[in-house]
Symmetry: C2
Subunit: 205 residues, 2 copies
Amino acid sequence: MADSKTDLRIIRTKESILTALIDLIEEKGFETITVKDITTRANINRGTFYAHYQDKFDLMAKCEEKVMLEISSIAKQNFPNVIASLEMDSSNVPPFPLTVSLFEYLNKNSDIMRALLGPKGDLSFQTRLKEFMWDTLYGTNPIALVKEENFLVPGQYLSSYMGTALIGVVQQWLNSGRKESPQEMARILTIINVNGPFYAAGLKK
Amino acid sequence: MADSKTDLRIIRTKESILTALIDLIEEKGFETITVKDITTRANINRGTFYAHYQDKFDLMAKCEEKVMLEISSIAKQNFPNVIASLEMDSSNVPPFPLTVSLFEYLNKNSDIMRALLGPKGDLSFQTRLKEFMWDTLYGTNPIALVKEENFLVPGQYLSSYMGTALIGVVQQWLNSGRKESPQEMARILTIINVNGPFYAAGLKK
DNA sequence: ATAATAAAAGAACACCGTGTTGTTTTATTA
DNA sequence: TAATAAAACAACACGGTGTTCTTTTATTAT
């Protein structure tokens, strides 16, 4: 038994569906999209959609899972993480390699990421991604220097703060046409994180 | 002609609808809610709903507009804003009055705010609120000391960063049962904003 | 208190998207 | 070129939508 490859038609169909989904999210937002919208746009029969996905939520979930896995793999490749490379007293630290890799991934997959993270995207995805970001980028692990007992504020708020701030910066970058390079974005994010937003606004020191 | 007050039935109906909406958002998420769900929960006829709102999106929009106006009014009452009261070199600044007022408002209206800002809430609202927050809390105005030419990073990213970070902290607070007082939350947020998240995590200085 | 008013309830309607189940056609694989 | 299965096609019951009409009921103003 040869390791039979997946039928070309399936690949084409799934690609058509994904492209249609991304387009439609940006056009009218996920919540108002119908399965009919998707199949019409993808030029496939509606029944074919149901051969691959339960409904539009299932499609979305599978789509998001794929993205999460890819980001997760990036995090693993860049282990040890961010925190370990921080020089404490430097106010001009180099951008963290993991952050650069992250923005490079976002840059390569900007269409789908803009759809998912955009103002018409999926809120639950952003929530999950936020938590995931904290865990992988700044979260506690054997290497990280993060120690809860040194916190000046409750860890849950620090986590929310940095997680959502990162998502916010990414959203802004994606929605404003990605004018800056991934390296530049990593630098910007690092400056604000290390020195604080007030410092970055020229209001301190 | 006396300035006829609105019919008591209208007030009752609208209140029932709003309560039902808030409950249902937390139960199943806005996107899967049907008008029938709302009217059943609110114990009103479905036709009555359409006498007041075009559809569930219209209801949501009116509901959000109300919240935005109230927050806007809070911002006006606390003018001049946050920035003007910042002592530059202090690492133990008092919480900004406007931020305290904001958390007090959120505390009083926690049900609706938790529904709107929660993981099953409305993404577009969060986007609008984020921009609104920057404008009113940290945005450039005649009093604010914020000057774009002093920025170490592009202003759009600073805005996104602080706006989303604030929302993230608020969400965390609302979803974890509001254990801290509004004053304490304002203090936490101020510490992170002024000194930076890394400092607040005990990773700097 | 009562009449005028209008809000809410109730019922019926066509419309549209859903999810499913068959059958037929067509593309891919071996 | 034959076997296979994906996709197209068609038909179905179901449920929510948004509208219109009539009837009932609560509120307001006299």
